[in-house]
Structure formats: C-alpha cells, structure tokens
Symmetry: C2
Subunit: 199 residues, 2 copies
C-alpha cells in the first residue's frame, strides 16, 4: 500500500533565544563574528550539532535578522548546515525568497567557518550581499574532520563578480584564531564528524 510523503521542518535548538534574539544590534564586524563563533561554541557545548554557527545582519545598522547552527544529526537532514538555517529563517522572517529584494536593506551572512560546497551555492541563490568568514575550510577539515567538498576555483571572486547579478562581497580570515576554538572543542569532545558515504 503506498504511503505518504513527509514534510521537513527546519528549526533552531531551544537554547538559541537564551543567547540571542532577532532585532538585537551588532554594530561592528567583529561583534557580529563573535556572535557567530559563540553560536558554534554553544552548539558544541550543548551537544546539539556540529561546530558551526552563522548569522545574518543588516549590513549598515547591524540589526540581527536570523541565526543558524548545524543541526544535521538532530534534525536528520544533511542540508541543515548553519548557513542553511540562517538563510531559510531570514527569508521566512522577511517573507521573501530574495534577500536582495529592493524593499530590503543590504544583508550580510557572517559565518564561523568557510561555507562548504553546498552553502556556497545557497549563498549564490539567496540574495545576500555580503559574506564574512572566520575559520578556513582547511581548519574545518584538519581539526574537526568534516569533508567540505570541492568549491569552484576562485570561489570568493566568483561571488564578488557575478555577470548580470549583484556582487556578493567576501571577507575571509576574520577572527580566524577565535573561530578555530569551536572546531577544537568538537575534536576534544570526542564526537565524530558525520561524513555521509565515508568509505
């Protein structure tokens, strides 16, 4: 007898709003990155997912729109990276699939670690106008053991210069030393990285 197709609900862990709420203001880039790193660290410490955190801010005002942490294992969904939650929830809050909509201020994604091959593409499609990155992919792979997958050559420049599409500013290595800390905490916790299809 045929069954039914399920739905999938993407949601933040319960503890998030004890740390941060939408509408809070983070004036400068370093405070925005420290929030993304804190989310990553809390996600490890509270054992709710992988060592990754992200947040979306209004570029000019610093007003927080949304956040994300990695909930791949707890939500049983390989898509549920920190950046994915931040993007999907920002779009729900702002009631549009296009974060570059003319009615919105420019928005930037601040992420504790370099987007993987999936989140690179999510950023491409999102309407985000800026990307700020903490740890490098090589940090994620060598410290925490996740296999980040291949990016297009010159990935940052591919976002900065998009023919016929608005450019996405990219800044890397922002507070890289601090952004490595949740990766080290994940390693120290003794948990294994999920890598579907590990042979």
């Amino acid at each position: 007898m045929p069954g039914h197709f399920p739905k999938f609900t993407m949601a933040l862990p319960d503890w998030i709003e004890s740390i941060v709420r939408p509408g809070e203001v983070f004036k400068d880039r370093l405070s925005r990155m420290r929030m993304a790193i804190r989310l990553a660290s809390e996600n490890v410490g509270r054992n709710t997912g992988g060592p990754f955190g992200a947040a979306i801010f209004e570029f000019e005002t610093g007003r927080l729109i949304s956040v994300g942490v990695n909930v791949v294992e707890s939500s049983r969904c390989s898509i549920a990276h920190a950046e994915a939650l931040a993007i999907a929830l920002a779009q729900q809050s702002l009631v549009t699939h296009d974060l570059a909509s003319r009615s919105l201020p420019a928005l930037e994604l601040v992420t504790s670690a370099q987007p993987c091959c999936q989140c690179f593409g999510m950023i491409w499609w999102s309407g985000l106008r800026g990307l700020v990155v903490g740890a490098r992919a090589e940090d994620v792979e060598s410290i925490a053991g996740f296999r980040e997958g291949p990016l297009p050559d010159g990935w940052a420049d591919r976002l900065r210069g998009r023919r016929g599409l608005l450019p996405i500013g990219v800044e890397v290595d922002v507070l890289r030393d601090e952004a490595i800390v949740p990766l080290q905490a994940f390693l120290a916790s003794g948990r294994s990285p999920y890598n579907p299809g590990a042979s």
Copy 2:
C-alpha cells in the same frame, strides 16, 4: 522589543500525491527519468514553481522513496529546489541524515535538469550513491533563464571519485530532449525566472 526566530517547513505541493506515491516501483532508468520530468511539467502547468522535478529511488528495486519539485517562490525559500526537497524528505522518511547508511540499499537521485551550484553540494553531503540527469545547465539557462551558478571543474568526476568517501555514479543527458520540454513550457508561460540579486 526583540522578536522570535521562525521555523521553516519544506513541503510538497498538494497535487503531488495525485501523481505519485512513495513505494511505487519504477523498474528502469527511463521510467524514473520520465517521472522526474513529469513532476517538472506538472509544476509548471499547475503554476506551483520552477520547471524542475526530482525523485529518489532504490537503485536496484526502483522503489520510489521521495520526490521534489521547485517551490522557491511559493515557500519563500531560495533553498527549496527540487533536489533539496527530494533529499530532505527522503532523509525524513528513512529517519537518517545519511542516505549511505549501512542499513539502507543504494539510493539514486533522478533529476530533470543538471543540479545547480547549491544542489551539487547537497548531493555531496547526502549519502546518495547515484545521480541521473536529464537537461543540461546550458538548457536551463538558455531556455528558462535561471542563472545556475558555477560548479567545480569536472563536477561529475568529482562526484564519481571522492577520496575517502563512497563514489557517486553520474549519468547525464538521459532523455535530454524530453527533459527540455518543461523548460520550454516555463518560457511559453511567460513567467520570469527568479534570480535573487538580478542587477
């Protein structure tokens, strides 16, 4: 006063189960691709999203696990591509983030059009063991006007040969002529492709 973060629920359009149900069997590759193409065509004809359809099958038996269509605009989420729904819903049905889990048979994704830069990465992380593609990215771009974004050079070979991860078989140009039909129907409908950040 600070607000609350929303959730995001990824769901198929209501008409899907009038077309296909999980557990149905599609013995050969062409019948699997024709189902993906039909989903794309119905999605255009019923005006529920972009001209893309996808489905996940047990490779050996042909049993249908999940399907997806593009619901980016209706769900207000740029992530909600056909492949994203197919992967997320398969993982919900099978209660794991890892479709390559040892308890599962090998699963393949059959998609009416070449995965974009986002869905390439989703496939990387999913645990899928095979990918079957209908229309090419150049068809999607030239006919329907979507800007698919950059893939890594040699993207298919990057999936086929993953160091330390199980290979993902890739077959392209399967029923390409039929897979182009929903793209042409989208063009003929007079609707515009969404391209967040179109300048």
